[in-house]
Amino acid sequence: MPDIALRAENLERRFGGLRAVAGVSLDVRRGEIHAVIGPNGAGKSTLINLLSGDLAVTAGDILLDGRSLRRLGPDRRGRLGIGRAYQKTTIFGASSAFENARLAVQARAGRPLALWPRRRAEQATDGLAEAALAAAGLAARGGIRADRLSHGEQRQLEIAMVVAGGAHVLLLDEPLAGMGTEEARTITALIRSLKAGRAVLLVEHDMDAVFALADRLTVMADGRVIASGSPQEVRRDQHVRTAYLGHGDPG
Amino acid sequence: MGGPPQRETPRPLLPGHGSMDLQTFAVQLLNGVQYGLVLFLVASGLTLIFGILGVINLAHGAFYMLGAYLAYWLTAATGSFWLALAGGVAIAFCLGLALEQLLVRRLYGRDHLTQVLMSYGLILVIDEARQILFGKDVHSVAAPALLAGGIRLTDLQTYPVYRLAVCIFCLLVAVGVFLLIHRTRIGMIVRAGAENREMTRALGIPFDTVNRTVFAAGIALAALAGLVVAPISTVFPGMGDGMLILSFVVVVLGGIGSVAGAAIGALLVGLTDTFGKVFFPSLSSMLIYVVMALVLIWRPTGILGRREA
């Protein structure tokens, strides 16, 4: 399929004797949100760490538009267009929201470490950062120190940064964790707005949000994929119902 | 400062560099091992303080120097090297306890820069206190009568008994430290503290006492090395500096917090330096750093250090 942006092939990661991720394959397509769900300890976070390059793979391969990422570090993957939001919000707390966004734009600019920047390049960077903040609903909050933003706003900012960096493959690790209802709604809407032209991999525990957002679902347990398909298919899967979703109806 | 003093050995030089017979090789090997073992005493204290307390202590070398001066002073005062040895270690241990209580305690969890600067301030204080108490003269300490003399190897070469005794003594201390850390309940507590402070606290282990003892023991080990080395070297003001750097290299080679790593690193440095002096006399002072650079390329967190995920 031509629109597969990120592909994992038989990914495996061992910690000593433990196989945290054992032969996982999945595709994330452009224009789609692909959610990965599963009980705690299923290997979801490890999977995301393998895809982002924060952890080295033991076996298998990761392809970005057909190109192997296996040997590249997180910074190289970042420049190739993989953006990541961490489970615990990871931003530059002492800088303003605007400066956070500007750093994200700068990281993927032509000369991210320029010593003598051109005025026009700087203006372009600033403009893109402003736009990214606006897209994330933070237009009015640019001057605030990031660590003084609310919990939900910090998460919005992190996602804004990932997008501002020009990432076209987004890895979102439990973006709704610890959010209030109102905040969760804002962020759900934000995530939905991101999928146009981008591939989104979402790890999330909030089943309402997952079934509301996901175009495709992969269910993991014990480091393996136990089911994969459209939300309807997965919902019908007897395997998943007993193993993970329990007896209640998630919808 | 001509590097660590125990390198200045009075034995006859080899006839021509680069070639050596088995006998000479054995002597050099022994020298290298003895040097490495002394280094291990200093470095093991350093690595324990790094690993368990998370504190970088630049003043560690100053305690080695202090140990040597204590050997000189106490031997002169009591007339017995053995009394000096026991007294010196006791004084260093108490000094360690006091310093932990007074200063080092405040460094736990602080940034490394703060630790660097405070221990640098401590060096200035210790150096000047040494100046006031003992002056800045170079001294020598006689080996105890019991261990004076040499073992005849060939017609030309003898090996000092005291050096051999230093080897054995350091080896015993090394084995003792290793057993203490890996085979006893105290060691278990200490290791648990290094792994997980919260857990240790939750288990009701007296954290403060453990910390204080570890710091004092680390200081005592450095001073012990100075005390033991005094009779085979000269006692001089700058001797702590060279030792500090070398024990840093040892810890970098072995990996922070690893006593076994410190042992490997110390022997590596001891042998590299000793044989470097024989084979590459003009490059010998650089050779250790070349080894360190190579290890850094190979394993940035040391030979036995924990690798970051």
Partner: protein, 345 residues
Amino acid sequence: MTAPADRHSWLVLALLLVLAALPLLAPGYYVQFATKILLMGIAAMALNLVVGFGGLVSLCHGAFFGLAGYVLALTAPRYDPAALWWSLPFAVAAVALVALVIGALSLRTRGLYFIMVTLAFGEMLFYLFQDAGFAGGSDGTFIHYKPELAVAGLTLVDLEAPAQFFWLVLALAAGVILLLRHLLAAPFGRALRAARDNERRARALGFPIYRLQLGAFVLSGALTALAGYFAAAQFGFVAPQMLGWHLSAILLVMVVLGGLRTVAGPLLGAAALMGLEEVLKLATEHWKLVEGLAIIGIVLVSPAGLRRLATAAFGASASGGEHLAAPPRSTAEDTTATDRSIRHA
């Protein structure tokens, strides 16, 4: 994260301008002492690029300082002054090259290891000159003539005249402040501070952290060399002690004293520490004891205490501290002028 403590460095620049009158007012001894302070201050500001703004505690900058002096001593003709226009760039480039090698190896490590490794490599240079036959060994070697800054036989600045030497160094210090201010506000400096504040995020965004920090390390080493070159010229002498790690530690004290998050603060730190040393030397034979205790005391109250001191001395605007729990109203100060203009646009 603001363009670091702007007003602070303008204040220091103004101070330097006033100081330019010193040779007209004070006897030569004070002019030479002020020159020394400026040179140590330049080195401390250079070091702060990696320590304060990069978050990397280096203990080999003393070696860079001394090495530049040795390059001058070794390349100067015996009976003639060296020509500044080529020997200075040569010394700076040589030190930058050494910094590149040491940095490339040291930056493979983090935290405690980085401190130890830089210390060890610095000492390697110390032992190189200590044991080497080619540069006077442990006795050091003399630089008989100060370098000559001349074009077509016409002397532009006569470095043998203490006042002219002072003015040149003063201009250099001002230049370094302006350069560092510029670099820290440029993408390079912003990325450097970002990597210090949150390396993981900076890496995930795609910043090449290793290259970034190595660049800062080399730049910082080169600027330190600038100071070391002129210091050696001023002393007329180089010895292995000038490469020793005690110098690195002293520079660190100056940095902390002056303010880790400021460009020009370390210059003030240098003035404060060297002034203190002068006073202590007059007061007691055991001045190092007092200095050591003072350093311990400073460290115990810092950083919070130091910032209070700085605030008292320079007014509230000097405290560009990022850990400062400032009231919400002051958030406007957390953004640079350019940010503000954009928000209002």
